[in-house]
Amino acid sequence: MIRSDEQPAEQFAAWAQQREAARLGMWLFLASEVMMFGSLIMVAWFYRIEHADGVAEAVAGLHYGLATANTFMLLSSSLLMSLALIASEQMFSQPRPLLRVRRCLLGSAVLGLLFLTCKGIEYTLEYREGLLPGFSADSPLYLPSARLFMNLYFIATALHGVHVLVAVGLVLWLWARLKHLAPHQARTRIEMTTLYWHLVDAIWIVLFATLYLVGR
């Protein structure tokens, strides 16, 4: 538990030690997320190879524009998080860096919410086209493997979307509470959240390539 009187937690001898532990813990958590999404992406790749034609049919109907816009938004939000982190490093030296940090955090969160909105629009469009859920009999897709691929697309992007939502939640909470956090504590939390955000972003890039781009 990070305490607000700027002492590291009881079991740690110094802040550096606590921060190192937090960093290691976060990297391990990211490793577990990579294993999770990694296996889902392997499933997608397996079906790409097994049923290249069905996948091609499904992929042709996906909304590239929205997805590309989403990619830019997520990348930009990652950039903003990194800027927030850099700004937070200066919290010990410069006066009033808080505003810059908070602005970057808010910007990231807004971009994250925009991402989710675009995704929602994409899902709505696909629902109207009858592509989702892809198990109904009157799907416009002809091949069963195309429908299967649409379902995998849905599960993978929905799971990712949940992670984006969690990330946005964390960032908004930080944005709101930053004033009340002590410098070491704030710096550590921003760093951990930034790491998480970068992971969510990296997973999206791989998903984007796997689901939208390859074999288009």
């Binding site: 538990m1 937690a9 009881e10 079991q11 740690f12 001898a13 030690q17 190192e20 532990a21 290691l24 813990g25 391990l28 958590f29 490793a31 577990s32 997320e33 294993m35 999770m36 999404f37 296996s39 889902l40 499933v43 397996f46 079906y47 097994e50 049923h51 069905g54 859920p133 892809g134 198990f135 091949l143 069963p144 493997s145 429908r147 299967l148 379902n151 995998l152 599960i155 799971l159």
Partner: protein, 532 residues
Amino acid sequence: MSAPSYLHKQGLMSWFLTQDHKRIAVLYMITVTFFFFVGGLAASLIRIELVTPNGDLLTADGYNRAFTLHGVIMVWFFLIPSIPSVFGNFLVPIMIGAKDMAFPRLNLFSWYLLLGGGLFTLLALLLGGVDTGWTFYTPLSTMFSNGHVVAVICGVFIAGFSSIFTGINIIATVHTLRAPGMTWMRLPLFVWSMYATSIILVLATPVLAVTLILVAAEHLFQIGVFDPRLGGDPLLFQHLFWFYSHPAVYIMILPAMGVISELITASGHKRIFGYSFVAASSVAIAVIGFLVWGHHMFVAGQSMYASLAFSLLSFMVSIPSAIKAYNWSATLYKSDLTVTAPFLFALTFIGLFIIGGVTGLFLALLAADLHAHDTYFVVAHFHYIMVGAAVAGYFGALHFWWPKITGRLYPQLWGKITAVMIFCGFNLTFFPQFILGYLGMPRRYHTYDPDFQFLNVLSSAGASILAVAYALPFFYLLGSLRWGERAPMNPWEAAGLEWRIPSPPPTHNFEAPVIVDFEAYDYSPEARRDPL
């Protein structure tokens, strides 16, 4: 004036909101004991049913639900959390000279996840029941099973996070909180095995999460991923499932192996033979264990060449285990041996583990597996490892560290009786199953050929002895809380940081920061034994 023990503060909330790794360990102990008895109840139903060739106690459906419940509860809610979450949590910080785990709040949260997931799963298994087997093979579980598959999946999914977070906590703790002077090669071997286990916990469990998500989606929405009529592949499920579940069995055995290293050195009052080999073997098992999952699928429709590769790799993974067994035995040479209850549990472990391991190699032999796969031979093999060995490891740990955890001594004689009863009862229960399996009795059979009855009766008789043996500690260990002698700091005259703090320890473990200027398992006459 010494600090009050960690058990001192009273009140339920002080337990349910604790961040002390020792209290959390006790919470886990109570939880896994509960699930052990539930799973054991299911096992009793199974063994009673199997006394006769016909299905007279349970219907076919009831029997299928019973063995599913037995497998799900025992694997995910007893075996996987048992040693890591109870003894890993209690001992790892103390053994490395730290005051707590790196993430105490996460630790408590992990316990709630296990408890919540477990109760939810239990409810689903009892109210509706699931008849898929703990392995949930598709398309049976996705398209043909009747029952609350999705509910059970949710419970296991939640409990999986308990595993992941425990693993993260242990790795971060061992990396960042070692006391000054506690180098990697001075760590107790229990810590090494917990570290190796945690690697598996963190990296393998997420794959189970995805597998469960896909099964649930298929069951609910027929997405097609495992349905051949929709372009899916039922074998893909098996690859995904076993990619997690094989490393999972190493989660179940590695901690027990770590315990045995401690028990052997403490009983022999001697440093382990080949410390670096034993330490490295834990990591080797964890790594190679990720490469052998296909040995569950030799007859599943996997390519011949893949099967050959997996068979060879399975032989490789046995080597580090063999190293441990040899090293433990060699440690006793020129030792100063006290034959205590924990030592008897260690012997039980070694004996049963060797048989289990060797029969595992038998199954890795392709031609033998074509015959023995999905028979009672496999059932016997994995019970020798998971029950014979792992549970002996858990009980050994319980008997060894009970004085430290509770501050009470229990009657040694009863501990020894339990160990011997477990050894005899276990062999009587499961050795006949090797023969049954080779004869051809398949697993998960509610009724069987009358020719198999004699061996089944032997097995069930052994099970009744085992049941008594497993129940015994419940009485004398709990009884010791009331009537047991107060435990001294170091009742076993063992080396290790945990034996230089009071029994039970104070909340923050060490009065003063620890400096480690000695090797592990230092049993020299000059070794420091004074309180820290």
